[in-house]
């Protein structure tokens, strides 16, 4: 990994990844304490994808993601206080507490967030891109989804329509090798996702999702292609989640050795090592970053603990626009 960036840029990437990692570790703890309920899909292990790709989008671009979207929302810039409040279900949450972990939204950052039905987001991303093209705007829509989604009809229908109408949408598949409890090879006759995209005449590449630099380079280049109007593009990030699919499953479907093997390529420790080797990272830098993150997390937790619930009287508010 020859770092093609400045020390500041390197530390920024590291900070993004660490911030996601510590946030997710804290949410796991809060879930066990009964503060966070329902489903909780953690992003630990896949941090390099969000950290490496999302900063390449501009504020005008749009992001569509899935129920495993904590990392994407953090990097996209929604305040940690709002995200933690949403996990608690509080009214100050980024979806007024109504969505919870699987449904983060932030209109101010065109973050169309947590759409939790597998592959449900792809047709929506295609539509956002269609609107941009028809209104002559040179914006890009980034659409994140997991390997499970490639089994849905919507994946094939969306890639075909995007290619057919040369729409400015960037399909970003986070292939973490498991669709909940089913390994990729056990549910795909053609496990090479990039190859599937080429069948619909989309340019597509496979990227090492554990290498934040590789992710950054490939994504930056793909966004440029889409923004130039060359049509849709697909990236398949090969990555891995270190934790259960959601809180909690027994992970019977994968061997513990496999998890340990992938942990050796932990995107954070490997990148930190690369920065040290390049003389860009001192221990004091790391301690400062960790301390800042820890403070930010505890302030977010306190904010979530103390902010009020949405009053029951507002239950039916916003079922329709403008009506009580």
């Amino acid at each position: 990994m020859t770092p093609a960036f400045t020390r500041e840029q390197g530390l920024e990437l590291l900070r993004h990844m660490l911030r996601i990692r510590r946030f997710e570790e804290r949410t796991a703890e809060l879930y066990q304490l009964g503060k966070i309920h329902g489903f909780l899909h953690l992003y630990i292990g896949e941090e390099a994808v969000a950290a490496g790709s999302i900063p390449s989008f501009t504020n005008e671009d749009a992001i569509v993601a899935t129920y495993r979207e904590h990392g994407h929302a953090l990097v996209r810039g929604t305040s940690m206080k709002q995200l933690m409040a949403e996990l608690y279900g509080k009214a100050a949450g980024c979806a007024r507490g109504r969505g919870g972990s699987m449904h983060f939204f932030d209109a101010s950052r065109r973050f169309y967030g947590g759409l939790a039905i597998v592959a449900g987001g792809l047709p929506v991303a295609v539509g956002l891109a269609l609107a941009d093209k028809m209104q002559g705007r040179t914006r890009v829509t980034g659409c994140y989804f997991g390997d499970g989604a490639v089994a849905e009809g919507e994946f094939h229908e969306s890639l075909n329509l995007a290619a057919l109408w040369k729409l400015p949408v960037l399909f970003l598949c986070e292939n973490n090798l498991y669709a909940m409890g089913t390994a990729l090879a056990r549910h795909q006759s053609q496990p090479d996702i990039a190859a599937k995209a080429r069948a619909y005449n989309l340019p597509a590449e496979t990227v090492d999702g554990m290498d934040v630099c590789a992710v950054q380079t490939a994504t930056h280049q793909a966004i440029g292609s889409v923004r130039r109007g060359d049509g849709p593009y697909l990236l398949e990030y090969r990555t891995y989640r270190f934790r259960a699919h959601s809180m909690y499953d027994a992970e019977l479907y994968r061997a513990k050795e496999e998890v340990t093997e992938w942990k050796r390529r932990d995107p954070i420790s490997t990148f930190a090592q690369a920065l040290r080797t390049a003389g860009m990272l001192a221990d004091s830098d790391l301690q400062r970053i960790e301390a800042e993150i820890a403070t930010e997390i505890e302030e977010a937790v306190t904010f979530a603990e103390t902010s009020p619930w949405e009053p029951v009287e507002d239950l039916t508010k916003d079922v329709y626009t403008g009506k009580a």
């Binding site: 309920h37 329902g38 507490g97 699987m102 019977l252 479907y253 029951v312 039916t316």
Partner: protein, 324 residues
């Protein structure tokens, strides 16, 4: 009398079905290695092997359609769609193929298919994972719709369904899986055509099905302390609806409250109320009341979800309004 959980009842029904008939096989998302998202098929893969316990890709339309085809081809498939929320992707196969083929082919084909899915809200999993849509399915001529609320029905109905020549849909309320209950007899033969009076009473009829049965019984207990004896009817089958038992009860009590977790407008409760009006108009001493979910996407926070869903105290209030 043995005490087992609803989950164990479903599992023993599945095992019994698989043992009895080699044509029977189970197909669905994570039913194999993962053991079922609600652990209803845990251990079946080891016992019956991957040929008959088939993990599918997340392709609901296709694997439900494949279930239809396999049934046409002489098999007796049990298809598990993880939850009713994901069955929307398969509605076309269900309505236009499974339900219609027999009549449309002039009686040449029948589709002996059983489809199981979880339904209902109450676990704070937010709007996209909390639907109650069994009423939609009960609108479709050509299929049978079952809503087992007890462990005996959870086990017995599957076996009875497999004897049917036409498609049967079984909705298991997600809240019931960990519920314990008394299994009546070791292998109870169970009918799938009649409603059951779970609690006799003379002053009014509480008519409900599935997960709401236990809320209705709780309300009946509360009402008994005020000297009001409520009869609680468990419909068990939404299609064909056992209108006879409903009308017999209402003719005796002269008052009816229907409890249904779906949204009020166009709910199955509306159908029941209409049939009561048509069949027992001159026996009604008060208008039929309905206790349904508030017309709002089910929110994540506990206090809002509880406010949105039918509750025992809402049922008791509805009864008091009826008694004037």
């Amino acid at each position: 009398m043995t005490t087992i959980t609803y989950r164990e009842a479903v599992r023993s029904g599945l095992r019994e079905a698989l043992k009895r008939d080699p044509r029977v096989f189970l197909m669905g998302e994570d039913v194999g290695k993962y053991g079922g998202t609600y652990a209803c098929s845990k251990g079946l893969l080891d016992e019956f092997g991957p040929e008959r316990i088939r993990d599918t890709p997340l392709s609901e339309s296709t694997f439900v359609g494949a279930g239809i085809g396999a049934a046409l081809g002489g098999m007796r498939p049990i298809v598990e769609v993880m939850t009713v929320n994901f069955s929307l992707l398969a509605l076309d196969q269900i309505l236009n193929n499974a339900a219609t083929l027999r009549h449309m082919s002039g009686g040449q084909f029948n589709v002996p298919l059983v489809v199981r899915m979880a339904t209902g809200a109450g676990r704070q999993v937010a709007a996209q994972h909390s639907h109650s849509l069994e009423g939609w399915y009960a609108h479709i001529p050509g299929i049978t719709v079952l809503t087992p609320a007890t462990v005996t029905d959870a086990q017995g109905m599957l076996l009875a369904a497999l004897q049917e020549p036409d498609p049967v849909f079984i909705f298991e309320h997600a809240y019931l899986y960990s519920m314990e209950g008394e299994l009546e007899g070791s292998r109870p033969a169970v009918d799938i055509s009649r409603a059951a009076v779970r609690r006799p009473g003379n002053d009014l009829s509480l008519i409900t099905f599935g997960g709401s049965l236990w809320k209705a019984l709780a309300a009946a207990t509360q009402l008994a302390q005020e000297g009001i004896e409520a009869e609680v009817l468990d419909l068990r089958v939404l299609r064909p609806l056992d209108t006879g038992t409903i009308l017999t009860s209402v003719r005796k009590t002269h008052r009816a409250v229907v409890i249904d977790e779906a949204w009020r407008t166009g709910s199955f409760a509306a159908e029941i109320a209409a049939q009561i009006m048509e069949g027992a108009f001159y026996d009604l001493d008060a208008p039929v009341a309905r206790v349904c979910s508030e017309e709002v996407p089910i929110p994540y926070p506990k206090h809002l979800e509880e406010a949105a869903l039918p509750q025992p105290d809402k049922i008791v209030k509805a009864v008091r309004r009826l008694l004037g």
